[in-house]
C-alpha cells in the first residue's frame, strides 16, 4: 500500500521511515513524501493510481492541507484516495473544516503512531 506523507517539516520523513521500518521491510507499506501541497499535487499527477492513502499536515506555507484536500477530492474521484489530515491545532474548527472538505480521518500532533498503525490495518 502506497502512502503519501505531506508535511513541510523534512524530519517527518526519517521519522516515518523508522516508525514503519518493519512494515517497509516486509513491503506491507510503501512511503513517499512531499514537503508542500504543491509538491504533493505534482506527485499525484503521475502516481495517483498507486497512492492509496494520503497523510497531510494542514498548516503549511503556501498551499494548505485543506486546499490540497479540496483539490484531491476534485481531481481524483476514481478511485478516491483515503485522505487523513494531521494538525497541531486539534481544535474543533480545524476538524470540521477537514471533514466537510472530504477528509476520511483527522489526527492531531504529536502523532500516535500506534493509533495510526491500527487505522492502517483497518484499511488493508
Amino acid at each position: 500500500m502506497k502512502i503519501l506523507v505531506v508535511d513541510d517539516e523534512a524530519d517527518v520523513q526519517p521519522l516515518f521511515l523508522q516508525r514503519f521500518r518493519k512494515e517497509i521491510r516486509s513491503h506491507e507499506l510503501d512511503f513517499d513524501f512531499a514537503l508542500s501541497g504543491e509538491e504533493a499535487l505534482r506527485y499525484l499527477e503521475t502516481n495517483h493510481s498507486e497512492v492509496v492513502l494520503i497523510l497531510s499536515d494542514i498548516n503549511m506555507p503556501g498551499m494548505s492541507g485543506i486546499e490540497l484536500l479540496t483539490r484531491i477530492r476534485h481531481d481524483y474521484s476514481a478511485p478516491p484516495p483515503v485522505v487523513m489530515m494531521i494538525t497541531a491545532y486539534g481544535d474543533d474548527e480545524n476538524y470540521q473544516q477537514a471533514m466537510t472538505n472530504g477528509a476520511n480521518d483527522f489526527l492531531t500532533k504529536p502523532l500516535d503512531f500506534n493509533l495510526l498503525k491500527e487505522k492502517l490495518k483497518e484499511l488493508t
Partner: protein, 745 residues
C-alpha cells in the same frame, strides 16, 4: 427766574464796598444747568450719572446768600453713587458738601475754612473749579474779612500762575479787583478786572461781559464817563441777551447817578425805571429791587419832590422789614436810612433827619463798611455844623481819623510805573520759577521714565526667569512622566506583539517537541531491535540500527535546541531592557520571526494562507545588533505584510485568483545588510506614506493596533542601529519595506 447778583450801588457819594462783580446767575448758565439736569435723567449707568452730576455741581450759578438746596442734593447723589462705583476721587466733593451745609446752617467761619480746604483738594487733583474759587469771595464779604480775602486771592494767584490753570487765575484777579474797589483804589481795581476779563474771554463769555460791565461801572465811579460809556455799551446788550437782569440793572446805575448829578432827571428816572423793571420779580431773594427803588427815591430827592419820594421809601422800608435786608450785603448798598435823612431834611424835619443819619452811621459801623462810615461821618459833620459845632467837630475828627487809617492801610502809595515794574519783576520771577519747575519736572519725568523702564525691565526679567523656572520644572516633570509613559508604551507594544506570537510560538515549540518525543520513542524501539539483532549475531543489521539511532539522537538534539532557541527568543522579546549587541545571523533571525509571525497569524485566523518566499544571501556575515529588537522590527514588518495581504484577499473577487505572497530577501550592499520584506497586499496610499512612521498612527480598527509598531521600528533601526528604513509601495499592488543595517558598528 431767580436772580442772585452782586449789585454795586452808586449813590451820589458812595464808593464800592463789597466786591467787584455782579453775580452771574443768568439765562445762559441756567439754560445750561437745566439741560444738564434733563440729561441726568436719561443716564442709566452710575458712571455716566456721576459725570453729569459733576458738571451740574461745577456749573451751579453763583449765589449771594447761601448754597441752594439742589446743590446739596446733587452732592448727596454724587457721593452716594460714587460710594458704589468708586469712579472718581470724591474727597473734594465730600469736603464741598460739608462746607456748604455749614454755610446753610449759618456757620460761615467754618464754611470758609471748608471751602478753602475743598479748593486745596481739587488743586491736588488738578481740577479747575473757578466758580467755587469765586464763590469764596462771597463768604469773605459776608464775614467782612476783606484783608484776608486779598491775602487769600494773592497767594492763590501766585500758585495758579505756576501751575498754569488760567481759569483759576482769572477768578483770583477778579477777587483781588473787588478788594481794591473796597479800598477805593479804582486804578488797581480796573486793572485787575481787565486782567480777569482778558482771561475769561477765552473760555466764558458770560463772565467776560460781567467783568466788562464792572469795569464800566467802576470807571463811572472813578469819574471817567467816556470810558464808562465805552465798556457799559458793550456789556449792557450782552446782559440783556443773556437775560442777566441783575447785571442789566447794575450797569444802569452809572446812568442813573450821572444823569442825576447833571440834573438830567428825566433820563435818570428812565434808567431807574428800566432797572426796576428788570429786577421787580426778584425782591424776595435779594435786595436788588429795593436798592433800585431806593435809587429812584434819591433821584426824586435831588428833584426835591418829597411827595414822590415818600411812597418809594415806604415800599423800601416795608421790604426791609419783611426780608431783613441789611445796609450792605452781597447785593450791594441799600442806603434807606440815608435816603430817609435826605427826605426829612427836604421836608425840614431836623429831628428825624438827625436820627435817620445817626441810624445810618450806626449800621455802617455795625456792618463795618468803612466807606459808608466816612460818608456818614462827613454828612454828620455838615449836619451839626450850624447848630452844634462841637458835635460837628467831633464827627469830623472821627472822619479824618478813619480816613487817615484807611489811607495807611492802602498799600497803594506807589506810582503806577513802579507797580508795573514790580509786576514785570514778578512776572519774570514767575517765568523763572516756571522754567525751573519745567526743568525740574522734565528731570523728574526723565528720571521716572528711566526708573520705571528699569523697574519694568527688571520685573520682566524676574517674571521671565520665574516663568522659565516654572516651565523648566514643569517640563522636567512632563519629561519624566513622558519617559515613563514611553517605556510603558514600548512595553505594551512588546506585550501586544508577544500576544501575536504566542500562538505561533506554541506551534513552533510543538513541532520540535513532537520530533523529540517521536525520535526518542523510535530510538527505544530501534535499540530493542538492536538487542535482538546482537543476540542473533546479526552484526550488520545491528550496525545499521546504530547508525539510525545515532541519526535520531542528532535529530532529538537539533529539535531540542530549536525549541530552546524559540523559548529564548520569546523571553528576549518580552524583556524590557536591551542587553547588549550580539553578533547575529540575520538570515536565521529573519527566518525565525517569519515563521513565528506566520503561524501566529494562522493560529488566529485559520483561513489565512500566504506563500512565503525567502531569498537568503547565504554569504551574509553576522552583524552586531540587539537581536530581540531587530526581531521585533521584523515581526512587525511581517505582521503588517500579512495584515495587508489578508485585507486584500478579503476584498478581492474570486476570479482575480489573488494569492498572498510574502517575499523575504537578504543581501549585503555598500556596507549594509539589507532586509527586504515585500508583500502583494493592499499597498500604502500616498497620502499616508509619510505618516505611517509617526507614533500612534494606525490604519487598523480601534483596539487592533497600538500604532506604535512602525514608529518603534523606526527608532530601533535608525536611532539604535544607525540604519535606515525605506518604504516603497503602490496602492493595490505591493508594499516593500527595506531595512538597512550597517555591517560594521
Amino acid at each position: 427766574m431767580r436772580v442772585y447778583y452782586k449789585f454795586h450801588l452808586i449813590s451820589i457819594l458812595s464808593i464800592f464796598i463789597i466786591s467787584g462783580s455782579a453775580f452771574c446767575q443768568n439765562y445762559v448758565s441756567n439754560a445750561q444747568y437745566d439741560s444738564l439736569a434733563r440729561e441726568l435723567l436719561k443716564k442709566t449707568t452710575d458712571a455716566e450719572k456721576i459725570k453729569v452730576l459733576q458738571l451740574l455741581i461745577d456749573l451751579e450759578p453763583e449765589f449771594s446768600i447761601e448754597p441752594p438746596q439742589r446743590m446739596i442734593n446733587n452732592l448727596d447723589q454724587l457721593i452716594d453713587l460714587n460710594n458704589k462705583t468708586r469712579v472718581i476721587d470724591e474727597a473734594g466733593y465730600k469736603s464741598l458738601r460739608e462746607s456748604y451745609l455749614l454755610w446753610r446752617n449759618g456757620d460761615l467761619e467754618r464754611a470758609l475754612i471748608g471751602c478753602k480746604k475743598t479748593i486745596e483738594l481739587f488743586d491736588k487733583q488738578k481740577k479747575v473749579m473757578f466758580r467755587l474759587l469765586l464763590q469764596i469771595r462771597v463768604l469773605y464779604n459776608l464775614l467782612s474779612k476783606l484783608d484776608e480775602r486779598f491775602k487769600y486771592y494773592t497767594e492763590k494767584l501766585n500758585y495758579y500762575l505756576l501751575t498754569g490753570q488760567q481759569e483759576n487765575t482769572a477768578a483770583c484777579y477778579h477777587g483781588i479787583a473787588g478788594y481794591y474797589l473796597y479800598k477805593a483804589d479804582y486804578n488797581l481795581a480796573i486793572s485787575n478786572y481787565l486782567k480777569a476779563a482778558k482771561i475769561y474771554k477765552a473760555f466764558d463769555t458770560v463772565y467776560y461781559y460781567n467783568a466788562i460791565g464792572v469795569v464800566g461801572v467802576t470807571y463811572a465811579e472813578w469819574g471817567n464817563d467816556e470810558k464808562a460809556d465805552y465798556y457799559l455799551k458793550q456789556a449792557i446788550p450782552k446782559h440783556k441777551l443773556f437775560k442777566d437782569s441783575g447785571n442789566v440793572a447794575y450797569c444802569l446805575t452809572p446812568q442813573i447817578v450821572l444823569n442825576t448829578r447833571q440834573k438830567r432827571f428825566r433820563e435818570a428816572l428812565n434808567f431807574a425805571d428800566e432797572a426796576i423793571r428788570f429786577t421787580k420779580n426778584n425782591f424776595d431773594s435779594d435786595g436788588t429791587y429795593a436798592i433800585m427803588i431806593n435809587l429812584k427815591a434819591l433821584v426824586y430827592l435831588e428833584m426835591q419832590k418829597p411827595d414822590l419820594v415818600l411812597p418809594l421809601l415806604t415800599e423800601v422800608q416795608s421790604l426791609i422789614d419783611r426780608f431783613g435786608y441789611k445796609m450792605s450785603s452781597t447785593s450791594g448798598d441799600l442806603e434807606a436810612d440815608y435816603a430817609f435823612y435826605k427826605y426829612y431834611q427836604l421836608i425840614n424835619d431836623q429831628e428825624k433827619a438827625a436820627s435817620s443819619l445817626l441810624a445810618a452811621y450806626d449800621e455802617s459801623v455795625e456792618v463795618d463798611v468803612k466807606s459808608l462810615q466816612l460818608k456818614y461821618l462827613k454828612e454828620l459833620g455838615f449836619f451839626y455844623q450850624k447848630n452844634e459845632p462841637a458835635l460837628a467837630l467831633q464827627y469830623l475828627a472821627k472822619y479824618f481819623e478813619l480816613n487817615r487809617s484807611m489811607e495807611e492801610n492802602k498799600s497803594l502809595k506807589v506810582a503806577q510805573f513802579e507797580l508795573e515794574e514790580q509786576d514785570k519783576k514778578q512776572n519774570q520771577h514767575i517765568t523763572t520759577l516756571k522754567q525751573e519747575r519745567a526743568v525740574q519736572e522734565a528731570t523728574i519725568k526723565q528720571r521716572n521714565i528711566i526708573l520705571w523702564t528699569s523697574l519694568g525691565a527688571l520685573l520682566l526679567i524676574v517674571a521671565s526667569a520665574l516663568f522659565l523656572y516654572r516651565q523648566l520644572s514643569i517640563n522636567k516633570k512632563v519629561l519624566a512622566s513622558l519617559r515613563k509613559t514611553q517605556t510603558q508604551l514600548i512595553q505594551s507594544e512588546k506585550m501586544a506583539s508577544l500576544g501575536e506570537l504566542t500562538a505561533g510560538i506554541a506551534h513552533e515549540i510543538q513541532n520540535p517537541l513532537n520530533f523529540v518525543n517521536n525520535f526518542s520513542e523510535v530510538s527505544v524501539e530501534l535499540l530493542e531491535e538492536m538487542e535482538i539483532q546482537l543476540a542473533n549475531d546479526d552484526k550488520e543489521e545491528a550496525l545499521a540500527i546504530a547508525t539510525d539511532v545515532k541519526q535520531n539522537l542528532e535529530k532529538i538534539s537539533h529539535h531540542g535546541k530549536r525549541a530552546d532557541s524559540i523559548v529564548k527568543g520569546m523571553l528576549q522579546h518580552s524583556r524590557s531592557g536591551s542587553t547588549s549587541k550580539e553578533p547575529t545571523d540575520i538570515n536565521a533571525l529573519a527566518d525565525e520571526y517569519l515563521r513565528l509571525a506566520y503561524h501566529g497569524l494562522r493560529a488566529k485566523d485559520k483561513s489565512f494562507n500566504a506563500e512565503l518566499i525567502t531569498n537568503f544571501d547565504q554569504a551574509l556575515p553576522k552583524i552586531l545588533v540587539f537581536p530581540q529588537d531587530v526581531g521585533r522590527v521584523l515581526l512587525n514588518l511581517y505582521t503588517n505584510a500579512f495584515y495587508a495581504c489578508n485585507e486584500r484577499s478579503q476584498s478581492a473577487q474570486p476570479e482575480e485568483g489573488y494569492k498572498p505572497v510574502l517575499e523575504l530577501t537578504t543581501s549585503a550592499e555598500d556596507g549594509f545588510v539589507v532586509i527586504k520584506v515585500r508583500d502583494n497586499g493592499t499597498g500604502i496610499p500616498d497620502n499616508i506614506k509619510d505618516k505611517i512612521l509617526q507614533p500612534f498612527f494606525t490604519t487598523k480598527p480601534t483596539g487592533q493596533g497600538t500604532g506604535l509598531g512602525l514608529s518603534l521600528s523606526y527608532d530601533i533601526i535608525v536611532k539604535a542601529h544607525d540604519g535606515t528604513i525605506h518604504i516603497d509601495s503602490k496602492e493595490g499592488r505591493f508594499t516593500e519595506f527595506i531595512v538597512r543595517l550597517p555591517l560594521k558598528v
